[in-house]
């Protein structure tokens, strides 16, 4: 990197010059990084967007065999009151028959098996599956033909995983807090 000393009339120490090059280069890289971070990070969810991340719901609003759709984090949330027949159908399925194996008991709260809470966004490309349709009586996604069962598990179609179960907790016997 350093040039022969005689070109500069014997002045200067090549090591010092190298140090200045490297220090200047490092400072430039650091400066670019410091500029890029805020410019990129501003596109991530803002504080108020994150603040809307949880919601509460009164389960007594859903009647048996029906589903209520509410909006949560900009996406639909399915809250389904399953009939005993639907619960039995979900529990009888062998795990080996599933594309994304998960027991029905892992997708609901013990003792509250009738209430199934799911993010209503197809795991393929995010369309909203329609209630009670498809080969398994759960949901059917009209966009690319994914069939979900009464536990919201993918059975047939291009979706790679089961409908997502959001994190939620029971505040009272009939009140849940989602997110």
């Amino acid at each position: 990197m350093s040039e022969p000393e005689k070109d500069h009339g014997g002045e200067g120490d090549p090591n010092r010059r190298d140090f200045i090059y490297i220090a200047a280069g490092a400072a430039a890289v650091g400066a670019v990084g410091a500029v890029v971070v805020p410019l990129v990070a501003q596109m991530n969810p803002a504080a108020d967007t994150l603040a809307m991340a949880s919601t509460e719901f009164d389960l007594s609003k859903v009647s048996e065999g029906m589903q209520v759709v509410i909006k949560w984090r900009g996406k639909p949330l399915f809250i389904r009151y399953r009939t005993p027949k639907e619960i039995a159908a979900a529990q009888e399925v062998k795990l080996s028959d599933l594309k994304d194996p998960q027991a029905d008991s892992d997708r609901v709260t013990a003792g509250k098996e009738q209430y199934l809470i799911l993010v209503g966004s197809c795991t393929h490309l995010g369309c909203v599956p329609t209630f009670g349709e498809g080969q398994f009586g759960g949901w059917f996604c009209p966009c690319h033909g994914s069939h979900y069962d009464t536990s919201g598990r993918i059975r047939v179609g291009p979706a790679p995983t089961n409908l997502e179960v959001p994190t939620y907790e029971y505040l009272t016997d009939t009140r849940v807090k989602i997110g």
Binding site: M43, P45, T49, P76, G126, P142
Partner: protein, 430 residues
């Protein structure tokens, strides 16, 4: 041709004064008046000029629409309807802008097929071709984001499906998706940034167009004979020859444009986009705009979600390396008796892919014909037709082009452009 000497002769004192300080008139004169163009250019070469007009129309109408449009999820749809009903001539400006996007893509597809047929991507025009591919990619991004802005059902759910494609990238896909959407779903932040970028990108396109024209003027234009300019007999000045020819092409193109704007303004759109966006209900059949259907078909042809996305992007990426995939020494397919038939099939395949992209994958191609199941779908379905067409699309670039270039016996290529013209004249007379 960079070696083309400037013939600009400033006459008045003002011109001489300016020429010494900023030779901008000289640049324009040398580029668009006295610029030597091959004398055998046909009407397929008028689409460059037509595309420039398209870009100007989109920018002018777009800036006007931005004066009346509100990029907010609660007001976007209503503001577009207000433009249609209440803003003076708003209906006209929006229909020109919306149909203008379709016209732009129609012209760019012809422009690209022309380049493909006449070998305009080959040395020394590789950079010119790649710049064109960049413009095409930017056009797709711009058109997609523009389609989201009216915030109708197709806008919204199209944005959901397309942004979710990015989410399919292993490991980093999820965080990138959230970053892109600015939240946990397509919502206000997404609409707002799409509006910002939709306003920005046309000017980026205009910048790359300038580079595209610069590269064109360094290498000189290709021509139907595919032989380079050798002498002054091979060329005519840009003005009046190319100016008038481009002018006629543009006028005829504007006829077509006007037919759509005034008589069929919604024929290329989807009726569902006149329903305000509802995140809780997805339309029964999601389709992109017609010009993206071939790529959408390729996406759906692959059973794996992530690999489908890879295939869709690869369909565009393969164009960038096209100059190095073609092994033939002959540029124009006029003199390539075998390759031209593969080219014709390629055009048909692209159109067929577009057709397939608009169909539901499970629908039988020939109704009533008995079918059997092949791996994961009925053989007589658009799913399998799309797969065969996708296979040809990639094979055309990756197998046929390198292989035929080596095997094919080309027809005799004329020594020069003027010789090619004289031979054509002799054939017509004799």
């Amino acid at each position: 041709m960079s070696e083309h000497p400037s013939t600009y002769d400033p006459k008045t004192g003002v011109e001489k004064w300016l020429d010494k300080r900023l030779p901008i008139v000289r640049l324009a004169y040398d580029s668009f008046v006295d610029y030597p163009t091959p004398r055998n250019l046909n009407y397929w070469w008028t689409f460059g000029g037509i595309l420039s007009v398209c870009l100007v129309i989109q920018i002018v109408t777009g800036i006007i629409l931005a004066m009346h449009y509100v990029p907010h999820i609660d007001h976007a749809f209503a503001s577009v309807e207000r433009i249609m009903r209440d803003v003076n001539y708003g209906w006209l400006i929006r229909y020109v802008h919306a149909n203008g996007a379709s016209m732009f893509f129609f012209a760019v597809f012809i422009h690209m097929f022309r380049g493909l047929y006449y070998g305009s991507y080959k040395a020394p025009r590789e950079v010119l071709w790649i710049l064109g591919c960049i413009i095409f990619f930017l056009m797709i991004a711009t058109a997609f984001m523009g389609y989201v802005l009216p915030w109708g059902q197709m806008s919204f759910h199209g944005a959901v499906v397309i942004t979710n494609l990015i989410g399919s990238i292993p490991v980093i896909g999820g965080p990138i998706l959230t970053w892109l959407q600015g939240g946990f779903a397509v919502d206000q932040p997404t609409l707002n940034r799409f509006f910002s970028l939709h306003y920005l990108l046309p000017f980026v396109i205009a910048g790359v167009v300038i580079l595209h024209i610069w590269a064109l003027h360094v290498t000189g234009q290709n021509n139907p004979a595919g032989v380079e300019i050798k002498s002054k007999e091979d060329t005519v000045p840009f003005t009046p020859y190319a100016t008038v020819k481009d002018g006629l092409g543009i006028i005829i193109f504007l006829f077509l444009f006007a037919i759509f704007v005034f008589f069929l303004p919604n024929s290329l759109g989807h009726a569902d986009n006149y329903i305000p966006a509802n995140p809780l209900v997805t339309p029964a059949h999601i389709v992109p705009e017609w010009y993206l259907l071939p790529f959408y078909a390729i996406l759906r042809a692959v059973p794996d979600k992530f690999l489908g996305v890879v295939a869709m992007f690869a369909a565009i990426a393969v164009l960038f390396i096209l100059p190095w995939l073609d092994t033939s020494k002959v540029k124009s397919m006029r003199y390539r008796p075998v390759m031209r038939w593969f080219f014709v099939i390629f055009v048909v395949v692209c159109l067929a892919l577009g057709w397939c992209g608009a169909q539901l994958p499970d629908t039988p191609v020939i109704p009533g014909l008995p079918s059997f199941n092949l791996i994961d779908g009925a053989f007589n379905s658009y799913l399998w037709l799309t797969r065969f067409l996708t296979l040809y699309y990639f094979a055309f670039f990756l197998v046929i082009m390198p292989w035929i270039g080596l095997k094919e016996e080309p027809l005799p290529v004329p020594a020069s452009i003027s010789e090619a013209i004289l031979a054509e004249h002799a054939k017509k007379k004799g």
